[in-house]
């Protein structure tokens, strides 16, 4: 209301000057708005275009073999995407396996269990986790988490599974340094939790209270309300939220670069170092030229395709998730 009154005052002051409202200024303003909106389209097209342009030499040199080759030899200029692609997908999947249950737990806690006075501070704490820069997660992962993880998880587990058929391969650390694909997955899980949790919480909050109350009214336990009322109501949005988290995990760079160990080979053990597309680009791009640079661009192109595919599905499922 005050804004309206102020506006009236402004209008009265400028009324004389605006006897003939200038069509030009109005058009100009609308044009600027239109152009700015179109710029968003062009930026996205520009990202794809520039990456394909940069990647072209690698794609024409290696063809489809680029996808299936696991070579990464700077001397002989042989490059392949397989280890990085597998590392990216593996780390992101581990992040989902670990992060999604935690996110759902937090969302359930905040919407169903948390006492009213604690709700806002707890929700804010979780959301603040989302604004911590990824490089800080990298430092935390490398200097705080990795030593603990090596000592209390990698060493005991490796000793336990040594010599066992399948587990002895997947869960065996040749050098228990704490860094590796699983460590990256865990750090990524921590990074996606605030996103998935806060979107899920919003979706759960939007479910009419009447539904929840009637379920409690017929004697349902919290578990039954969550399992049979809330989850079915919000399932599409929750899957969308998980996909958003996946999109973030796939493209995350700095935190992963710190903790994944940056090994170029393919290993069957999730305790062993590996690399993701993003970490490989971050590590090598500044020293690269020629075919190596182009191959890194080609990796970027693959990342673009994978993440945008995931993000588009996610955004179709959660039409309007929030910004931060």
């Amino acid at each position: 209301m005050t804004a309206l009154t102020q506006t009236l005052a402004v209008d009265r002051q400028t009324a004389v000057a605006r006897i003939a409202p200038s069509k030009g200024a109005d058009r100009l303003f609308q044009g600027a708005a239109y152009a700015s909106a179109l710029l968003v389209l062009f930026v996205l097209a520009g990202i794809l275009g520039s990456i394909i342009y940069g990647a072209w030499p690698a794609f024409s040199e290696f063809g489809f073999g680029f996808l299936t080759s696991s070579a990464w030899n700077i001397g002989t200029e042989q490059f392949g995407a397989l280890p990085a692609v597998i590392g990216t997908v593996a780390a992101a999947m581990l992040a989902l396996i670990i992060g999604v249950p935690i996110s759902l737990g937090i969302a359930v806690y905040l919407t169903q269990l948390c006492p009213g006075w604690a709700r806002k501070p707890v929700a804010m704490t979780i959301e603040l986790l989302a604004s911590v820069p990824s490089i800080i997660y990298g430092m935390w992962g490398l200097f705080v988490f990795a030593p603990l993880f090596a000592r209390f998880v990698q060493v005991p587990v490796s000793n336990l599974v040594e010599g066992m058929p399948i587990l002895g391969t997947i869960l065996y650390a040749r050098i228990p340094s704490g860094v590796g694909v699983l460590t990256a997955g865990i750090i990524l899980a921590i990074m996606i939790v605030p996103f998935v949790a806060s979107i899920t919480r919003d979706m759960l909050d939007q479910i009419p209270t009447v539904l929840r109350e009637s379920a409690y009214g017929i004697g349902c336990t919290t578990w039954e309300v969550v399992r049979h009322v809330l989850v079915p109501q919000a399932s599409v949005s929750i899957i969308g939220a998980i996909m958003l988290g996946l999109g973030r995990a796939l493209g995350e760079t700095m935190a992963v670069t710190f903790v994944i160990g940056n090994a170029n080979r393919l290993s069957a053990s999730i305790f062993d170092p590996g690399s993701t597309i993003a970490s490989r680009i971050a590590n090598e791009f500044n020293e690269a030229d020629g075919l190596q640079l182009s191959s890194l661009m080609a990796l970027g192109c693959l990342l673009f395709i994978i993440t945008f595919f995931v993000l588009i599905i996610a955004r179709l499922l959660v039409r309007r998730a929030k910004v931060a």
Partner: protein
Amino acid sequence: MDASNPIATAGRAPTVSRVRPGRRVADRVLILASTIATLLGIVVLGSILLMLIVEGVKGFSPSLFTAPTPGPGSEGGGIANAILGSLVMTFLGILIATPIGLMAGTFLAEYGRTSKLADIIRFLNDVLLSAPSILIGLFVYTLMVRPMGTYSGWAGAVALAIIATPVIVRTTEDMLRLVPGPMREAGAALGAPRSLVIRAVTWRAASAGIVTGIILALARIAGETAPLLFTALNNNSWFNANLLGGVPNLPVMIYQFALSPYPNWQSLAWSGALLITVTILALSVVARFVIKDQRPR
């Protein structure tokens, strides 16, 4: 899961809740698990802050804010050049992103509304919002660094602007949509052209929310490292006033110094990390308090 007869259970222990044990166990497990999940989140944030404070405060001294970063293996020095470089690039990034984001958000909320084009732009903006920032670094590298033949603060600022813009577009649109239609109609009824109604009525009514969006964007780009790696790079001295050549900045400095073998560099990295995290968390908290009353629900 549980085969025992509920009536028998109730008969055996009439004072206990009449909920079947299986149901009760599932319920308790859920409550326990979700409480632990929440505690885990709080513990991780606490642990990160504790680590930063313990390691970061040690390096605090006046020279941290006055001296440039030292060479490899040498003692002393500070991170003043990185702080200034970060401030300059973040500020330039916001300066580029704000008008574009504001106008694009205005288009979506006021002009485009439900048109096909607005729908597409809105959707792609949401996708861009969570696009991997390293790809934006590659884009700006191809767009600016390669043609110009040098890393530059301008390239860094443009990369940051590309990350900030979708945030501003999104919050601006959301906030403008909260402004009631009758206010626009009242403006129009007074004979104000559409652009004046937008500037004097809707923008003004939504100003707090729009400012929040800009603060959120600021918090988002202040700690971005990946897009600066190939655009602004880093530099162990003061940078050129024309921003050409490597421009030192906190995130890339932290990345390089934290992984270096020199204790002095590591200590500077910790101090920089503390500084940047506290700044970003403060910005996010401020943004949340401003947005509190306006968040769309």
